[in-house]
Amino acid sequence: MTTPAMEIDAVDIGFGPPGQRTEVLSDINLKVEKNEFVAIIGFSGSGKSTLMNLLAGIQPASSGEVRMNGTPVREPGPELGILFQNYSLLPWLSVYGNIDLAVKQVFPAKTAAERKDYIQRYIDMVSLSGSEWKKPSELSGGMRQRLSLARTLSMQPEVLLLDEPLSALDALTRANLQDEIIRIWEEDRRTVIMITNDVDEAVLMADRIIALTPGPKATLGKSFPVTLDRPRDRTTLNFNPEFIALRNEVTKYMIGINEEAKKLRVSADLPLPGLMPIDFNSHDRKPRVAQTSDLIAPGSQQVPEVEERELVGAADE
């Protein structure tokens, strides 16, 4: 058996001092094969970004280990190319300068002329030609993410980590960039792990979809292989029964685990205050006096705040 390109082995991550510790991720196990495109899908607030930072080596594991090609990941580096959700571009550098910074650092042996051609290639690859000397503040959101992608790719990472790369973009730009990423990936295959909250996106792009259960103590749930043929065409895909079935299956599963999580947390629900309907006909409406029932029940304090849960694609049902 070959060593997986990326492997997470029984990782737990928690924050806070002992006693008040919040377990964000627990018992995460994942194996990603070389050149595989894996999408991890989860609700917002379930620890997706923590998982991504763990993979990138930015966030150390409380226990367990992350391995790349069998060697443990202890610190971030250019071989683990991460594409941040909020671009992380340096605003005082131009498009060229942002990529140049990375290229200079990762490939110090390149001569100036080589570097110039190299950078230009990546700028062309993400269709930013003509904007070389613009500052990030002069670019649109989509263009910024393209630039961020070009910078990450220019480091020639072994594993590409996409941390909700498209969630800050509008639907049209998003579709556009999805196609772009797929195109680039197909030209130059490498291992990709993408985190997303969009079922459609996951089904469209990935080879395998893995669910992340809602936190706290989020862990990886069921895995769905995507067997659709590549290249996948988004216009025809919408009528493809296999695509529809898979999408529905994933969505149903996600909603299911969310319900489950809610049921588990039923004791944590805030007790509703006993409010009588206001009698709109009586004129002496007194201001409501706070009652003991307004207070949060003791014991529910330890429960982290109830996060807004959303799942793009669930609305299709």
């Binding site: 941040f84 992380s88 910074l101 503040s137």
Partner: protein, 543 residues
Amino acid sequence: MSEQTRIEKIKYGLLKTIDVSGFKVFDPVVRLIFGEEPQKQVKDITRFMLMPIVFVCCCLVAWNFIAPRHKTKSGEVPTPAQVWNALTINDTLYDRENEKESDFALSDDQREAKIEEVKTLIETKESESTKLKEELATIEASAKQKKAEALAPLQAEYSELKTTHKEARAKRKIEAESLAEAVTKKKATTEELLTFLRDSSRLKEDEKEKEQIIKDQIAEINNEKPKSLQAAQMASDSAATEVQHLKKRLDYLSSGNRSLKVAKAKDSASSALTELESAKSPAEILAAANTVVKNEERASKIAKQEYPRASTIWFQMWRSLFTVFIGFVLAAVVAIPIGIMCGLNRVAMACLTPIISIFKPVSPVVWLLIFQIVVGAFFPNPETHPFFVFLNSLPIIGRLNANPALIFSACTVAMCALWPALVNTALGVSSVEKDHMNVAKVLRLGLWSRLTKIIIPSSLPLMFAGLRISLGVGWMVLIAAEALSSSEGLGKFVWDEYQNGSSLTFSNILLACFVIGIIGFILDRIMIVLQRAVSFDDGAATV
């Protein structure tokens, strides 16, 4: 079409320049010139340009109205016109210094020509001056006469009042005496005598008061100086000083001239040389040889001499600017590295926090005294100290006559300007966005590249915001430091004026107030432009 875009380009270039320099007020003017929404621009111009101008004019009018009505020990508060007058006077003083300086350095034909020129000038000016003096005399005489006319009735009234009061007092004295006699004869009670005396004392007070009123009126008329007399006096005075100045110039062109002085020294050297040749006894030879050498030395020394300029307001201004620049650079050089260190390392921050907290609120006056003692120890002999010799040999800076007082003032400025820059730099460095640091981590940048590629560029806007505050603080501190250390500069200008107490004192102080304010404003603008230039967030940190 291309013409259109070219104009647009110019327009937006102009607008951008205005925006960056912080003169947003002129934005509508530019837009109006290019014909963009004229109605809106006119409205904006009225609201944000005309209204402020009108307001400032109102303030000037109020100043003009209130100032002469407030009498102080050093005369009336000067009006705007008087301050303006002080400006022109100070400006001429500066020009005259320039003239004398160039005269001093002239030689040969140029000098001869200049002498002729100045001589004719003196002739015309002198005749003008005598004419003005005559005019002044007539005006003075008429004013005197007028005053005497105005005073005559008052004085008559005063003496009349005095005599009547004297008589009344004598009468009351006699009455009191008779009343006292009556008391001894039991014809009147002591009570009656007391009441009488009380009344008479009250009457005396009243009389005195009446006299005082007239006295005051007389004094007022005596002090009064008609406007025409004042103007004539001023004109005559300025003409006289002009003549004096021209005579002084003549002196610098003739006997006081550098080239003449050199020639004189050389002459005596050569005459001593002939003496040396004809000398017989060893003592004579030695004496003559000594004279030769001394005169030669003198000639070469004089040849290098510069005109000893009197300090004028513009000279003081340049010197102040130089001092604040040195202090500011010193502050930046110390504050930025320490600030970066504090921002990077929390232990360093913790170590420096007590020092910063304790020394930040210390008054500049205390710093000045400390620096005078501590830094003064480095310059026991400032005239020959290599540092000052070097500074004063530099082309432009040399003219500012750097001395230890300048260094003390600069150090005081640096000490007080240090803190805002330091604190802001530390804040800027410690608040570098986490995303940017993640980029550095992913790229595995070393400490140096991390500093130069990520941390410093990202904290530059805050750094410059701190430097801007520093420069403002430094400029304020400098004026006080100069006044106290009597280092030539605007602070000393103010202080000297206060100590001198001439008729121009008050106007000059107000003038200095405006000069200091305007320069402070310009320095701040320069810093804003720099800050905008390094801001990648389009100057959001400004304001």
